[in-house]
């Protein structure tokens, strides 16, 4: 058995047993962050914090929510909104949080793309981030079903139907996922389980893994400089001013917390004064499986991929429009995973310092915004053609990425400056 000397004080007593001092060093006071970063590097912490807000508000909603097709709608729209003290507040926080977290995820992702933070040892950070994106999408989709309004029902209907496009097993798979031939009570109860237990658990694991993947490569910085963290850590201990890095705690956190506070002001402004965007009016009609809403559309953060799904509205040769759309949709979901390998240039630098990538980056943003806008509009007339063109553009952009970055690697001799 290990030997335990007599401790003087609670801290020491705990330290003997849990080695808190060493843990604090490894996790906080000697986990190093570059000085040369800006507010965009606070997005990760904002995400972690917003997830916490969602978790807490969700726990309070859970106490009155009833997962049953006959009770769900009223338990949300009547009990929680009208009767429970501050129930409306928790619902608005949860709805606004779910929407805003995607905004921040997209900013966080495109910060990574802009600064090339997904290559040269940072591939696993990117992949674990994409895992979180997938998990958050599953969480948002399953949560949206719970109020059992018209949009809940028909979004569930359309999305589960997508699996019907898989060859051979498609039809049976849809019935299996729904637990019924249509979206019904069995569908609601299983997605309820996913939303309140399995997916949040996976997200917590995913966040821990994402943090761990940052450990060895460390975060990138504004110029993409390859910092020797060991050497800079020595310098910091001699004279903090001369080092290129600072410890995560307490020095870096002070800055993160400042950005977080600004974010929270914005967040609670939305919660109290501008929550409408996160509460679709159509969803205040109870679910009705025999009456389709005139337009079915997902929440804003899924619109770009929804538009890629609908973008192909005519058959090409033997391929049916619906199948092409499905293939394009699958492509759109999967392609971002491969970002570290599609970008063939070894240069880690901000996009504006890279010859072709600077255009690629901004065109990509425009394409995604166009897809998002048109994803909400009815797919008729010119809208359908713009949707088609931008879906094609989306695919072409990823097809040319390896070509232009290969060219960059050759022109900028030696790659990294």
């Amino acid at each position: 058995m290990a030997h335990f000397p007599k401790a003087h004080g609670v801290g020491e007593w705990l330290d003997h047993r849990l080695n808190i001092t060493a843990l604090k060093k490894v996790m906080m006071t000697e986990y190093w962050i570059p000085k040369d970063i800006n507010f965009l590097w606070a997005m990760g912490m904002i995400l972690a914090f917003t997830f916490k807000i969602l978790l807490i508000s969700g726990i309070f909603l859970l106490m009155y929510y009833k997962p049953d097709v006959n009770a769900a709608f009223d338990s949300v729209n009547y009990t929680i909104m009208q009767e429970v003290g501050y129930g409306w507040l928790f619902r608005h926080i949860h709805a606004v949080g779910a929407s805003v977290i995607f905004l921040v995820i997209y900013i966080h992702m495109f910060t990574g793309i802009y600064y090339g933070s997904y290559k040269k040892g940072r591939e696993m950070i990117w992949l674990s981030g994409m895992l979180l994106l997938i998990l958050f999408s599953a969480e948002a989709f399953s949560g949206y079903m719970l109020p059992w309004g018209q949009m809940s029902y028909w979004a569930a209907y359309v999305i589960t139907n997508i699996f019907g496009g898989i060859p051979l097993i498609g039809d049976e798979l849809v019935v299996w996922i729904r637990g019924n031939f249509y979206v019904a009570d069995a569908t609601l109860t299983r997605f309820f389980m996913l939303h309140v237990l399995l997916v949040p658990l996976a997200i917590m694991g995913g966040i821990a893994f994402h943090f761990y993947t940052l450990r060895i490569p460390h975060v990138n910085n504004q110029t993409g400089e390859d910092i020797d963290f060991g050497k800079e850590a020595e310098k910091y201990k001699e004279n903090p001013k001369r080092s290129k890095i600072i410890p995560f705690w307490p020095v870096f956190m002070a800055k993160d917390v400042f950005v977080l506070s600004v974010f929270l002001l914005f967040f609670f402004y939305l919660v109290f004064y501008n929550y409408g965007f996160a509460m679709d009016p159509v969803n205040f009609d109870p679910a009705n499986g025999l009456k389709t809403p005139a337009h079915i559309y997902p929440e804003w953060y899924f619109l770009w991929s929804y538009e890629v799904l609908r973008g192909f509205f005519f058959d090409i040769g033997p391929l049916k429009a619906a199948d092409i759309g499905l293939l394009a949709f699958g492509f759109a979901q999967a392609i971002l995973l491969f970002m570290p390998w599609l970008d063939r240039s070894p240069t880690v630098a901000p996009a504006n310092q890279r010859p072709y990538f600077r255009y690629w980056f901004w065109i990509m943003i425009v394409v995604l915004i166009v897809l998002t806008i048109y994803g909400k509009l009815p797919p008729t007339g010119t809208n359908a053609w713009i949707g088609f063109a931008s879906s094609i553009a989306f695919i072409v952009m990823f097809a040319i990425l390896p070509v232009i970055t290969e060219k960059e690697a050759r022109t900028v001799a030696g790659g990294k400056k």
Binding site: V175, W176, I177, G179, N180, F181, Y182, V183, A184, A186, R190, G289, L290, K291, T292, A294, I296, A321, T380
Partner: protein
């Protein structure tokens, strides 16, 4: 030496147990998501077609979807590939969801068309599309005939024959 082979043996036993356990658990988990027996039996709906009035649409619910039942009047042409024939009478039996984007079309008795209000799609009395965006006729649900009743959800010989003619 003996120690090593003993450990190798235990490794194999562990591997086999874990493998069997994993397959068995996955199967059991998959089964929990299968539709319940009550759901499956509710997936078969039997209707007596004889009381229908020619030219008037009746709508019933089958697997959560509306199903149109229409007994033909004599001025409606025959369509061997889509009509359900029982004795002298001919019927259109289709899932009442527009094949464009899933709205529920209405039957216009005087014009003898199905009209979809969402994007103006139209279908003839056999539910074949005649105008607008719908890409194909309304779907025919699986059915079987016995006497004057049909059972939706059950693939009878008449249904299978229809599939080959479509």
């Amino acid at each position: 030496m003996a120690d090593k082979s003993r450990r190798a043996f235990m490794g194999k036993v562990l591997g086999a147990t874990a493998g069997v356990g994993a397959v068995a658990s996955l199967y059991a988990m998959k089964r929990t998501w299968d539709p319940l027996p009550s759901v499956i039996s509710a997936g078969f709906t039997t209707v007596d077609l004889s009381p229908l009035e020619a030219g008037k649409l009746s709508v019933i619910k089958w697997r959560g979807k509306p199903v149109f039942l229409l007994k033909h009047t004599s001025d409606i042409t025959t369509d061997e590939a889509r009509d359900i024939v029982i004795g002298e009478d001919r019927y259109t039996v289709v899932i009442g969801l527009c094949t464009h984007l899933g709205c529920i079309p209405e039957w216009r008795e005087n014009d003898k068309i199905f009209h979809c209000a969402c994007h103006g799609g139209q279908y003839d009395p056999h539910a074949r599309q005649t105008f607008g965006p719908p890409p194909r006729p309304l779907d025919i649900p699986p059915f079987s005939i016995s006497g004057k009743t049909i059972t939706l959800g059950d693939e009878g010989p008449e249904y299978k024959k229809m599939l080959t003619m479509a």
